[in-house]
């Protein structure tokens, strides 16, 4: 099952490369380095919106990795055209990668009438597909529109932080493919891990989406403009995926 892995296996590539000498040394002394007092992982993500170039490589790799049906998305980069007043050009583009926040107080969990949706010990919120009745109560309860009913499985679906990859010591597909290096995945309980270090360094700037909902998201953002922190007020979407139904 989930034994603490050397952090290198589950950190981002750059951390991996930078950390090699230290880790090999550490590994020589203690084969399973202690991550935190209880030795458990607490997976989380940091999205640095300043680095996102809006290429949707994450969107595509997620669809490939998780066989997400056409028209549905587990992650997407919401893109906004924002009028500028303090620059020569008339408008700028704002990119906001969205995914399940793997909330620490997830409203999607208690509403599930059959206990099919739950938070794993390592913080990942998942759906037990064998149990889900497809009632979509969790879809309603998520304040982030992160969930949907998958029309191929007829069950609730959403981002799993690529739990199958994480369990195998790999990074989530979106992190692996992120062109701008905007998505950093890691273990909140690992004080030396890149995620923890970046979060600590950026402390004041770190924000989450809809903090007032009390959901305690575990997807953090740097460079999150407050106009995009909650429900965005603006003109509706210009581009929407083709409808499968109707």
């Amino acid at each position: 099952m989930m034994y603490p892995k050397p952090p290198a296996l589950s950190e981002s590539r750059r951390a991996f490369l930078r950390g090699i000498p230290v880790l090999t040394a550490a590994a020589a002394i203690a084969p399973a380095p202690a991550l935190a007092a209880d030795g458990k992982h607490h997976w989380a993500m940091l999205v640095d919106t300043r680095k996102c170039i809006g290429c949707q490589a994450c969107t595509v790799s997620c669809i490939q990795e998780n066989a997400v049906p056409e028209g549905s998305f587990r992650t997407v980069v919401s893109t906004y055209s924002v009028k500028l007043t303090d620059a020569d050009q008339p408008a700028g583009t704002y990119m906001l990668p969205r995914l399940c926040n793997h909330c620490d107080a997830p409203p999607c969990v208690p509403v599930c009438p059959v206990g099919a949706t739950f938070k794993r010990e390592d913080g990942i919120v998942v759906v037990d597909g064998d149990r889900c009745v497809g009632c979509a109560y969790c879809v309603q309860a998520c304040p982030y529109d992160a969930r949907f009913i998958n029309h191929e499985t007829n069950k609730a679906d959403k981002c799993t932080f690529c739990a199958h990859r994480v369990d195998a010591g790999l990074l989530p597909a979106c992190v692996e493919t992120c062109v701008g290096g905007a998505r950093i995945f890691g273990d909140l309980n690992d004080p030396d891990g890149e995620l923890r270090r970046r979060l600590d360094a950026a402390k004041a700037e770190v924000k989450v989406l809809k903090p007032e909902q009390g959901t305690e998201p575990r997807v953090f953002y740097i460079g999150l403009d407050e106009r995009f922190q909650g429900k965005v007020e603006g003109q509706g979407t210009l581009w929407q995926p083709r409808k499968r139904h109707g």
């Binding site: 009028k83 969205r98 409203p107």
Partner: protein, 362 residues
């Protein structure tokens, strides 16, 4: 709306609670509403209510038996409905609901059987249609007052629990400010009671001679009262939103106010309620019209809350647009529940013709 921000790329989430859900909430509401109308005549033996109450009980029965089918169909995995009973989850109101519905329906079916037994026996004796079946169901046709009261009590507990859970389940969804208001269960209840009265009025109207005028008047008065309460609750909601006293209500208002669809719905709902109130109050004899209006308001309210509510994105800008699909997940779902309702109505009124039920003091 902020004209400085234009969303260029985002996901549109599909509606996840389908028109089936609207049908369920509508039918179960009509059922417990009509059940309440059955009490004065059948349990409390209020003079002038016997006929109405027997008709109301029929309405409660037909709607109550149709509703769970709609609920089941709204699951994307209907064959797994037994999971509700195998994996009880006390944190979820929906999970509790799965237990409340059978309590209500068991009570209701027993209550209806006990109330209708003597009539079924008479129907059989007089050689009515399906007399053999009527005799078998009547099972002696005895009147058993204590058992009837006990069954009505069970049904009442079930109805209260169903009314509670259907309201609270939706009210608790904090992610949708439009739903997240303690006024919602009250609105559901008031419109359900009005709908139950409305359907009973229609049945009453179907009697030879258009029903007893006294009965129509009594129901019209009750209906006027529900419409008044509905207006007060609606006004309270608006006041909470406009004054900003309650941030959730203000947010809900801000989310829907800019939409032309919502403006039309709001004006429509208020106008329909006012017209029903005035007609029921000033012209209580207009039983058919006010009955239809009450039913229409109960349905529209649920459609607007559920389908309209799901058209409001939780994070994105603007609105998702929903078009009613023609297949089972849309129009056919509505038609299907109506078809089942009519089938049950025909079967039950063959055994228990409306005029037999509606006869005062029978």
């Amino acid at each position: 709306m902020n004209a400085d921000i234009v969303e260029t790329v985002n996901v549109a989430r599909e509606i996840a609670w389908l028109p089936w859900a609207v049908q369920y909430f509508f039918l179960i509401g009509l059922s417990y509403g009509a059940f309440l109308v059955s009490l004065p005549g059948l349990v409390f033996r209020r003079a002038g209510w016997e006929g109405i109450s027997r008709l109301a009980l029929l309405a409660a029965l037909v709607c109550g038996l149709t509703a769970p089918v709609a609920l089941l169909a709204d699951l994307h995995q209907p064959a797994r409905f037994w999971h509700f009973y195998a994996y009880f989850t006390p944190t979820s109101w929906m999970s509790w609901g799965a237990f409340f519905i059978p309590v209500y329906l068991t009570g209701l079916i027993l209550y209806a059987w006990l109330a209708y037994r003597p009539l079924l026996a008479r129907h059989a004796d007089e050689g009515g249609r399906l007399a053999g079946l009527a005799r078998r169901i009547a099972y002696g046709g005895h009147e058993s007052r204590n058992a009837l009261v006990a069954a009505a009590l069970l049904a009442f507990v079930g109805a209260a629990l169903v009314a509670l859970y259907t309201g609270v389940e939706v009210m608790l969804v904090r992610a949708r400010p439009l739903w997240h208001t303690p006024l919602l269960p009250v609105q559901f209840f008031v419109t359900a009671l009005a709908g139950g009265l409305g359907l009973t009025l229609l049945f009453n109207r179907g009697l030879p001679g258009g029903g007893e005028p006294g009965a129509t008047r009594r129901m019209a008065t009750a209906l006027a009262a529900t419409q008044f309460v509905a207006l007060v609750v609606g006004g309270l909601w608006l006041a909470l939103g406009l004054s900003g006293v309650s941030p959730t209500h203000a947010q809900a208002l801000a989310e829907v106010a800019p939409s032309a669809n919502w403006q039309v719905s709001a004006v429509w709902a208020v106008a329909a309620t006012v017209v029903t109130l005035l007609l029921a109050w000033k012209r209580p004899a207009s039983g058919l019209l006010i009955g239809l209006l009450a039913l229409h308001s109960a349905w529209m309210m649920r459609w607007t809350i559920f389908i309209g509510g799901q058209e409001v994105p939780k994070t994105g800008a603007g609105y998702y647009s929903y078009q009613l699909p023609l297949g089972p997940e849309g129009l056919m779902g509505i038609v299907g529940t109506v078809g089942l309702w009519i089938f049950l109505f025909v079967v039950l009124t063959t055994l228990l013709p409306l005029d037999r039920l509606g006869k005062a003091g029978a």
